[in-house]
């Protein structure tokens, strides 16, 4: 089926997004005295990662690329699987991670000039020595969660990124960050423990944690047990993805972190949760109308309550955190439709939202740098004082609100089309809800725009202070990436549709990882160990 000699180089690409950042993390930790070397290593590592992931996008279009880690075939060993969905996610997250890294380097350099103490605490907030290793570990954790084909390894991926994100969130250890960090780490550890419990129960029920094998075995078990397992997994992932009743931690903890950290969290961490929901709902569990209806109701509540929270905020960072919660609802909407079209729309929306939300948080970092605050009462006149900043804010803000012709509009049109095609009462409620959420998002960002950019400048804003190029260029690059998504929206949507098809039918994935005793993964793990070949 697969010509191994021809695919050798392709398969070596799969572990790179995990291994390269991890290796670089160790290297940067060892080189903590040499800030410049650290920077070069980090940028190089993430560039390699992004390039490798882009290669995977192309390779995975011919079928999932599978690597058996350690040479043990699927049911015994842990498989890394890059199918279309994983490859797309890893690539987008690679681009975002790289842009944010460049931004944080720019911030370090820019603020270092303001505060030339040179004591390793550049910018007064980020101790560079631990920033790079932690950031790279975060990148590895995200890639591991996207690429793994094993439920327990997904848990490990979650824990890697959780540990790194807690360190990044509490950088500097100020009172406000320790408070926010305490809430964050307790909530996320709680969700991880729920996930671990779910894994224990799934292992007890099916005797495996390999996703391909689970896809075969879960449909065979008692349906009531299966729904309980599904609900437990959804609960764990729902906390990570910040779905409505479980989202209260997010707007409270994200805004206190340094701007680039908030940006990368907002872009990636919740999306890892959304990806986990997508993967488990489509691959592992057969479609169940009851679960889908609950998900639809939750999606509606997430959208509306999130955006109403955003409208009430008076601080740009908190406002954006609430829009983040609200727009998670769109992705859950797509998943809950449980159709190929709905899943495709959800995948497209995730890709769009990762880029646009991160870009907006980076711009807010610039606004804070220029205006000295993120409170809308203390900002003003930035359109006149910093026209470039105004453009940088305006484009992703309109993209987020879903104004044509941006990718946000296309993603929402895709979701609404599928909702109408579904035609049930709840789906129609969601269609109305998504339009209302889109309009309220427009209202929220226009409110931010009016106050920060158009109202009279308060006296304490420095009249002329040029924006540092090191911050503007990465932000601009990420916004350009978001615009490029609009340009290539046709092929991208086609790719998302193919990705949805492979993850919905399950057969391609299962066959690639574990072809039931054909050429790979011969025999069950139990038999293998009894025969004297097991681990």
């Amino acid at each position: 089926m697969i010509d191994t000699a021809a695919l050798w180089s392709v398969q070596t690409l799969v572990p790179l997004p995990v291994l390269v950042p991890l290796f670089a993390a160790g290297l940067t930790l060892a080189l903590h005295r040499y800030a410049n070397v650290q920077r070069i290593v980090s940028v190089a590592a993430l560039s390699i990662t992004t390039a490798a992931s882009a290669g995977l996008i192309w390779a995975a279009d011919n079928g999932p690329v599978v690597v058996d880690v350690g040479g043990w075939a699927a049911p015994v060993g842990i498989a890394l699987v890059a199918d279309r969905l994983s490859a797309l996610m890893v690539t987008v997250s690679g681009v975002v991670l790289l842009c944010v890294l460049l931004y944080s380097l720019g911030q370090g350099i820019a603020e270092g000039e303001d505060d030339p103490a040179g004591d390793g605490r550049v910018g007064g907030t980020i101790p560079v020595a631990i920033f790079h290793p932690t950031y790279l570990v975060l990148a590895a954790g995200v890639a591991n969660a996207f690429l793994t084909g094993d439920l327990f390894n997904l848990y490990v991926g979650f824990e890697i990124l959780l540990a790194a994100s807690s360190v990044l969130l509490t950088l500097g250890g100020t009172a406000e960050r320790v408070r926010a960090g305490s809430v964050y780490i307790v909530v996320t550890v709680m969700s991880s423990l729920l996930f671990l419990t779910a894994i224990a129960l799934i292992y007890g029920a099916t005797g495996t944690v390999n996703m391909a094998q689970l896809a075969e075995r879960l449909p065979e078990i008692d349906p009531t047990v299966r729904v309980a397992l599904q609900a437990l997994l959804l609960l764990a992932f729902g906390i990570k993805a910040a779905i409505f009743p479980l989202a209260a931690w997010l707007p409270d903890s994200y805004p206190t972190a340094p701007a680039p950290v908030t940006a990368v969290f907002a872009g990636l961490l919740t999306k890892v949760g959304v990806y986990a929901i997508l993967r488990t709902q489509t691959l592992l569990f057969p479609s169940s109308a009851a679960v889908d209806q609950v998900l639809m109701a939750l999606a509606l509540a997430t959208m509306l309550i999130g955006i109403l929270g955003a409208v009430a905020q008076n601080d740009v960072k908190r406002l954006l955190s609430f829009t983040l919660v609200s727009h998670i609802g769109y992705m859950i909407f797509g998943v809950a439709l449980a159709s190929e079209g709905g899943t495709a729309a959800a995948i497209f929306y995730v890709v769009h939202h990762i880029s646009v939300q991160t870009a907006l948080f980076l711009v807010v970092g610039l606004v804070e740098w220029r205006g000295g605050s993120t409170s809308l009462d203390r900002l003003g006149g930035l359109a006149r004082l910093a026209p470039v900043l105004a453009i940088l804010f305006f484009v992703p803000a309109m993209n987020l609100a879903g104004i044509p012709p941006f990718s946000g509009f296309l993603g929402k049109v895709g979701l609404i089309t599928e909702g109408v095609r579904d035609g049930s009462g709840l789906a129609w409620a969601l269609v109305v809800g998504s339009v209302a959420t889109s309009l309220l998002t427009l209202y929220a960002v226009v409110k931010a725009w009016n106050k920060a950019f158009w109202q009279d400048a308060p006296s304490d804003i420095v009249p002329d202070r040029a924006l540092p190029r090191g911050l503007v260029l990465p932000t601009g690059a990420l916004i350009a990436f978001g615009l490029a998504l609009t340009v290539v929206a046709g092929p991208l949507y086609g790719y998302a549709e193919r990705a949805a098809r492979t993850s919905m039918d399950g057969f391609t994935y299962v066959n690639a990882v574990y072809p039931g005793g054909a050429e790979r993964g011969q025999g069950e793990s139990v038999e293998v160990s009894e025969e004297g070949e097991g681990s």
Binding site: G120, P127, F152, S182, L196, Y203, G204, D252
Partner: protein
């Protein structure tokens, strides 16, 4: 499909229940150290559940060590538990460091209310005079004086919080003592 002989031991199941129950109770406490104890108990409960899921005990899972007729115990569950224990250890250490930092800054390690909660509470306090029926109490003060008094209380609380916050912020760590 493989049929696993999986009837769990009642003692282990009870232990899981007790650990998780006590863990949840501690998790609902205010101080971070108690929350941490809750997390540790909960994670031990989850680990024990993994052990139960791995089936009954048997011969050690080393090939050639046991006669072929004897059933071996499942090594995969134990491998997963080991991984989970290591992860919990690392996170516990981090939470402990955070509790210590909180104690350094505030003299206690209680987790504060979130910003939104505090804002809503403050708004409620500001609006309070409008809802209290001050006519009912005979205090000899005019309504305006009473309202002013209530307002001052609010201001005082805000002021106290501000001072506390500044004291917290002012206590910046030395470059060497931040979390590494």
């Amino acid at each position: 499909m493989i049929v696993l002989e999986n009837t769990p031991s009642l003692v282990l199941v009870l232990a899981v229940g007790v650990l998780c129950g006590a863990g949840v109770y501690l998790l609902l406490e205010r101080p971070l150290t108690r929350v941490l104890l809750g997390i540790i108990l909960l994670s031990n409960g989850a680990n024990l559940m993994l052990l139960v899921a791995g089936g009954r005990a048997g011969a050690s899972p080393i090939v050639g060590n046991a006669p072929p007729t004897v059933r071996m115990s499942d090594p995969l569950a134990q491998a997963m538990i080991l991984t989970a224990i290591v992860i919990t250890l690392a996170l516990s250490a981090f939470i402990l460091a955070m509790a210590y930092r909180s104690w350094q800054l505030h003299g206690h390690d209680e987790v504060a209310d979130d910003v939104e909660d505090r804002r809503v509470a403050r708004q409620a306090a500001v609006n309070e005079p409008a809802f209290v029926d001050t006519d009912a109490a005979e205090t000899g003060e005019t309504l305006d004086e009473e309202a002013a008094g209530l307002y001052d209380e609010v201001l005082e609380r805000a002021e106290r919080e501000r001072v506390e916050r500044e004291r917290g912020d002012g206590d910046e760590p030395e470059p060497g003592e931040g979390p590494r």
